[in-house]
């Protein structure tokens, strides 16, 4: 899905009209503050891309998220840390529509209600998700993986006739360069190394030009060098995209040089730059045990 900020896109495509379906359940079109909210576009007029308010999710009485409130600015890079069971993955699930919250609201921009959109609708609206385990199409080549991720019609009928468009070819090449997989374009994704698969998946997300990119432990299992490259890549992407990185690896979080949110028992415990968070007494208690 190309957006108004189509940076990975070729310039000509930057203003491509969006699939009306992408608007999903959003209330785009009803305007409040004197500017025109266009259907299918993320309204970041208040410079906030994601709002979570008082989100509660309970599984059999256990509250995975407990009145979690969080907001991510447009173009921000944010790291989310927290001990196991703090609710990090559940939060991602709520944002991407996999889990419906029992209470609370989740908005993309000012207008799109994520709790009322399906997973494909949310994906088309501009939220990309990187899973913890690399999740690529192993039986397809690197090129094909990126092609499937390319913006375009998603319907089954039109897919019978779709071909690789010239504009798409450029975007695929660009994404391959960005994640450093250009030499591997014809290789089957199943034969790539673990790190390469992670990057391929990031490339697949980038090619859709998501406004908001969610990354679940993107450096799990990577070497130090690969970790550093990934951190560089994410820092370079911030600004053009908003990124939320869930991570355990403190060394990596340090390399991201960004604002950090600490989750604990389903709600926000502390927020700020890494140094201040690390010196927070409650954070130390949670991490070092009682």
């Amino acid at each position: 899905m190309s957006t108004l900020h189509g940076h990975v896109a070729a310039p000509g495509e930057a203003n491509a009209t969006r699939d009306a379906e992408g608007a999903g359940g959003g209330e785009a079109g009803t305007m409040s503050s004197g500017h025109v909210a266009r259907r299918g576009e993320i309204d970041v007029s208040h410079s906030v891309i994601l709002y979570l308010e008082e989100i509660t999710v309970a599984f059999d009485g256990f509250k995975a998220l407990d009145a979690l409130s969080l907001s991510i600015d447009d173009g921000e890079l944010r790291a989310i840390i927290g001990p196991n069971g703090a609710g990090k993955t559940t939060m991602m699930d709520v944002i991407t529509g996999k889990t419906r919250p029992d209470k609370g609201s989740a908005f993309l921009g000012q207008t799109m209600d994520l709790t009322r959109m399906s997973e494909p609708q949310i994906a088309r609206a501009g939220i990309g998700r990187k899973f913890q385990k690399p999740s690529v199409f192993e039986a397809a080549s690197v090129l094909e993986n990126l092609w499937l991720a390319c913006a375009g019609e998603r319907g089954w009928f039109s897919s019978l006739r779709q071909r690789l468009a010239p504009g798409q070819r450029e975007r695929i090449d660009q994404a391959m360069e960005t994640v450093g997989l250009a030499p591997e374009r014809e290789r089957l994704a199943g034969t790539l190394s673990h790190g390469q698969k992670q990057w391929l998946e990031i490339g697949m997300l980038l090619i859709q030009d998501p406004k908001l990119l969610l990354l679940d432990e993107p450096v799990a299992g990577l070497s130090d060098e690969e970790t550093e490259r990934t951190a560089q890549l994410l820092r370079a992407l911030a600004g053009r995209h908003s990124l939320v990185v869930v991570e355990h690896d403190m060394h990596f979080v340090e390399q991201l040089q960004c604002k950090v949110t600490v989750l604990h028992q389903g709600s926000v415990l502390a927020e700020g730059d890494l140094a201040s968070v690390q010196n927070d007494a409650r954070v130390i208690e949670v991490y070092l045990g009682r």
């Binding site: 494909p120 319907g155 089954w156 897919s159 019978l160």
Partner: protein
């Protein structure tokens, strides 16, 4: 029988290097082929398939009609019927191969769509008997036997061939659409879907066993006399049915090939390998699965309609779960994730079946079981997978 992870190397036929099929050559070094035009078969496989098709679909029926019976090598009625039957089976195997091999949906109830197509056309054949049945009445014999006075409402129109053909497509297609929509929307997959399909075909079999259902109970339909007004056992009719079965198989193969080579096929494989990822890329898997599923059911249904006039009988045992499992065996033996594989498998297993059930009838099921174990353990990609790997290694 859960679909095991496919060996990745086999996803692209080994012969792929030979020639680039399709449009727009790749750009830049190392770009051997455009992504959408992955060849489904190597050239040698094409030649083999075409030769086989010409032999089976053209030469055998022609020889059967044209040669006088005194000629020793004239294809016998038995051979013609057997070949026609196996061609129908092979079509079913291709249909299952499409959804199992490429979409990861293992249906163990495909015999149902085959049988429903057969029943829909069988109704027409029953009406074609006219007053030549044992009771010499307009009503089909089994209705007279049950002392029914009029045709049930769902038999109306069945004396028209065009109506029968419409029903052959409509009834199984609608069932597949409704069942598939509920199953895929509820995200039933893997072994659960297989079990549900088994249950579906079993339930249908029990339903059709009842006399009150109105399809001849456990005897089903048989004793056909005519088709389109001509005698059904005449050599010309048999030859034409054989040729039609061959054409339908060819059509099924070509349409599945076109699908697999399109972006649709790529998305199907993507759903098979990483459904969640596909969803987060903005694809809704339900319509993709549903479209492939319904197409697969329709291919089976028409194959069933061609099968019934050739074997001369259709009864509820065609819906038995074991029949549907056997279809999966053909596909597994031939090679999943290929399109020729299911055809090869259907021929191999059914020729073996014909041989065994005549020579050692009591051993057939043991042989089938052994075959399945051997294939699962030794040939995870079936016969075609083995041949392709051999060829790749030889290179």
């Amino acid at each position: 029988m859960r679909a095991p992870e496919r060996v990745t190397g086999n996803a692209r036929p080994a012969g792929a290097g030979g020639g680039v099929e399709g449009a727009a050559g790749g750009q830049g070094a190392g770009s051997a082929r455009p992504p959408w035009a992955a060849p489904v078969m190597a050239r040698s496989e094409w030649l083999f398939a075409l030769a086989l098709f010409a032999l089976v679909g053209v030469l055998v029926p022609l020889a059967h009609v044209l040669l006088p019976e005194s000629v020793g090598w004239r294809p016998s009625t038995y051979l013609v019927t057997l070949t026609g039957k196996i061609l129908c089976y092979a079509t079913v195997a291709v249909a299952l191969g499409l959804i199992w091999g490429y979409a990861g949906i293992l249906s163990l109830g495909h015999g149902l769509f085959f049988a429903l197509g057969g029943y829909a056309f069988g109704m027409y054949l029953m009406r074609q008997i006219g007053r030549d049945g044992s009771y010499a009445q307009e009503l089909p014999d089994f209705m007279v036997f049950l002392d029914w006075k009029t045709l049930p409402w769902f038999w109306q129109g069945s004396d028209q061939w065009w109506w029968a053909m419409l029903m052959v497509v409509f009834v199984p297609g609608l069932l597949a659409l409704v069942f598939g929509w509920f199953a895929f929307r509820s995200r039933i997959k893997g072994v659960y879907l297989s079990i549900v399909t088994q249950a579906l075909t079993y339930a249908a079999m029990l339903l059709f066993f009842r006399n009150e259902t109105g399809f001849g109970g456990n005897n089903g339909f048989t004793d056909f006399k005519r088709i389109f007004g001509v005698p059904i056992t005449a050599p010309g009719t048999r030859a034409a049915l054989l040729a039609a079965s061959a054409l339908w198989l060819l059509f099924a193969f070509l349409i599945c090939r076109a699908i697999i080579r399109s972006k649709f096929g790529r998305v199907l494989e993507a759903i098979r390998d990483a459904e969640t990822r596909t969803m987060f890329l903005g694809y809704d898997p339900v319509p993709y699965k549903l479209a492939a599923w319904v197409l697969s059911a329709l291919l089976c249904a028409v194959a069933g309609a061609l099968y019934v006039p050739q074997v001369g009988i259709i009864n509820p045992s065609e819906m038995s779960p074991a029949n549907s499992i056997e279809i999966a065996v053909w596909v597994a033996v031939g090679g999943r994730g290929t399109l020729v594989g299911p055809i090869v498998g259907a021929f191999l297993v059914n020729l073996a079946k014909s041989f065994f059930t005549q020579a050692f009838p009591q051993l057939w099921l043991f042989f089938l079981g052994t075959l399945f174990i051997v294939v699962t353990l030794a040939l995870p990609n079936g016969v075609v997978g083995l041949l392709r790997r051999r060829k790749e290694q030889a290179r």
